[in-house]
């Protein structure tokens, strides 16, 4: 594990920096394809599995297959076998931002003791119900609150959080439009 001084947040920053240098000269190896397969169970209950992906010019495999159950809660007259799909977006956002905080802190020589992100998404469900066509289907706004205990000034901690947004894949995917193709095969 590469550390800067005695700082160790568990992030192998050197490997990331090496990868950045190596991929500068070979953009084709930097092209990744992430995949998931969702199977309908019953009602609005689905199971999504994630195992393989493509990257560094070859098929890759996670150490283990991950399974994600999605459903709707009781108040939507569903069985609540799992969280709702739009909650998975929040899971993606804060896990990405928190990973970013750890990486940036490691790179900047800041020792973290604890990091907790709380996220809230404001959602007017009249959109998805078709009750009001002026209401969008997605979130009206998302608020992430970080509580960070670290050997750093408040300013430095705020800079960590800002930089983690700047390099976050999920933050970008949520805040900028993405071309989406949905087809029947």
């Amino acid at each position: 594990m590469t550390t800067i001084g005695s700082v160790d947040n568990g992030v192998n920053v050197q490997a990331l920096l090496d990868a950045r240098e190596a991929l500068k000269g070979s953009p084709e190896a930097a092209q990744f394809t992430w995949r998931a397969t969702t199977r309908w169970e019953n009602g609005v209950h689905t199971t999504t599995t994630v195992k393989d992906f493509f990257g560094l010019g070859a098929e890759q495999t996670h150490k283990a297959r991950s399974t994600f159950t999605a459903d709707h809660p009781d108040v939507f007259a569903a069985e609540d076998n799992g969280i709702t799909p739009i909650e998975y977006l929040l899971v993606g956002l804060t896990s990405c931002l928190t990973a970013g905080v750890a990486s940036v802190a490691q790179n900047r020589g800041i020792q973290l003791r604890s990091v907790e992100a709380t996220v809230e998404g404001a959602h007017d469900i009249r959109g998805i119900l078709g009750a009001d066509s002026d209401v969008r289907n997605g979130y009206n706004g998302i608020t992430v609150s970080f509580s960070i205990d670290a050997d750093a000034s408040t300013e430095d901690i705020e800079a960590l959080v800002a930089q983690s947004q700047k390099r976050s894949a999920v933050f970008d995917a949520l805040t900028n439009p993405t071309d989406v193709t949905v087809k029947v095969v």
Partner: protein
């Protein structure tokens, strides 16, 4: 008919009906009195037992709330401001909205030599002619326009639907998104917001064009079934289907507005009921500024509406839809006068 011909037609109707038309008169307020309504105009007042509001659904252009974030270097126009491409600065133009107004202006401006980008949300695609007949002939003959307001599955949506992508020309050409692409117009997704001098477009362009293609095919299939059922198959040309809407491999998702000279908001219109006195408006205008009515009967005794989208049937949206609507609404109005309520 051209706009001028329609105006002449109405002038002739005013003469032949000998109705006491008061031209060049603006109604400034309408309020309820003990036994009817008081209407004030810039030419004096009127005492009325009953009032029919026929001021239309397109009094004001609607623009997104975030249009204020467009940089000052860009000239913003609505269809109310626009007269022709000659008034536009040379250089690229963004047209927002792909209903009838948006597609017609996009074509006209692109032909003037200015590069047009067309932001496209949900829209209604229609061929100008189908099986040799005008598509409006089909709408009329097959009974689509006769569908009553209380039979329309989603009346709110039907009343808010943008105008079909149609243009009236001598050549009866179809002006769909493929025709615009052929002219050189760049299609992008629905305009969602402005951020840091950039306009961001939805990544859902493929979905809105697929929806419009599917709905067009469903409409045409309905025409075909009607033609077979009623035996007019032989009177019209063979069944045809149209090319699906082409979308670039990677549609643009953002546009630097500093490189654009003009944004034209073809994002719809709304009715203006600000001239209704507050107690009346509070009772008959909903939270979105739309008149509440049941087939033209407004929930205020003696107050009626005509000439609104899908007022009593789909035909109501168009000018010739007034005939049946007027007969029924006036029937109710006469009944109201008869009972002395």
């Amino acid at each position: 008919m051209t706009a001028g011909e329609v105006a002449e037609f109405i002038d002739r109707f005013a003469e032949s009906s000998r109705a006491p038309v008061r031209p060049h008169t603006t109604v400034t307020s309408l309020r309820r009195t003990d036994d009817g309504y008081q209407v004030d105009t810039d030419q004096g007042g009127l005492r009325c037992d009953t009032v029919v509001i026929a001021s239309g659904a397109c009094n004001l252009p609607v623009v997104p709330a975030w249009s204020g974030a467009v940089p000052d270097s860009v000239t913003q126009l609505t269809p109310f401001d626009y007269r022709g491409p000659a008034q536009l600065a040379d250089g690229p133009v963004l047209v927002v909205g792909a209903s009838a107004t948006g597609v017609q202006l996009a074509a006209e401006i692109q032909r003037s030599g200015r590069q047009v980008t067309l932001a496209t949300g949900e829209h209604v695609r229609m061929p100008r002619t189908y099986r040799g007949r005008d598509v409006l002939w089909w709408m009329d003959a097959s009974g689509v326009w006769d569908q009553r307001h209380d039979e329309v599955p989603d009346l709110t949506r039907a009343r808010r639907l943008g105008s079909p992508q149609l243009v009236g020309t001598d050549e009866r050409t179809t002006l769909d998104l493929n025709a615009l692409t052929d002219l050189g117009v760049e299609l992008v997704g629905r305009a969602s917001t402005v951020r840091d001098h950039e306009l961001l477009f939805s990544g859902g362009l493929r979905n809105v064009v697929a929806l419009a293609d599917l709905k067009q095919d469903r409409l045409l299939t309905g025409f075909d079934e009607w033609a077979t059922r009623t035996g007019v198959d032989g009177d019209v040309k063979p069944v045809e289907r149209f090319e699906t809407t082409r979308v670039a491999a990677s549609p643009r998702l953002r546009l630097d507005l500093r490189g654009i000279r003009t944004v034209l908001w073809a994002t719809g219109f709304r009715a203006d009921y600000s001239w209704l006195d507050t107690p009346v408006a509070g009772q008959v205008v909903d939270g979105k500024g739309q008149l509440r009515h049941d087939g033209g009967v407004v929930d205020s005794p003696g107050l009626y509406a005509l000439g609104l989208p899908v007022l009593r049937r789909r035909r109501s949206t168009y000018i010739h839809g007034i005939e049946d609507d007027a007969r029924e609404v006036v029937g109710h109005l006469a009944g109201h006068l008869g009972t002395g309520q």
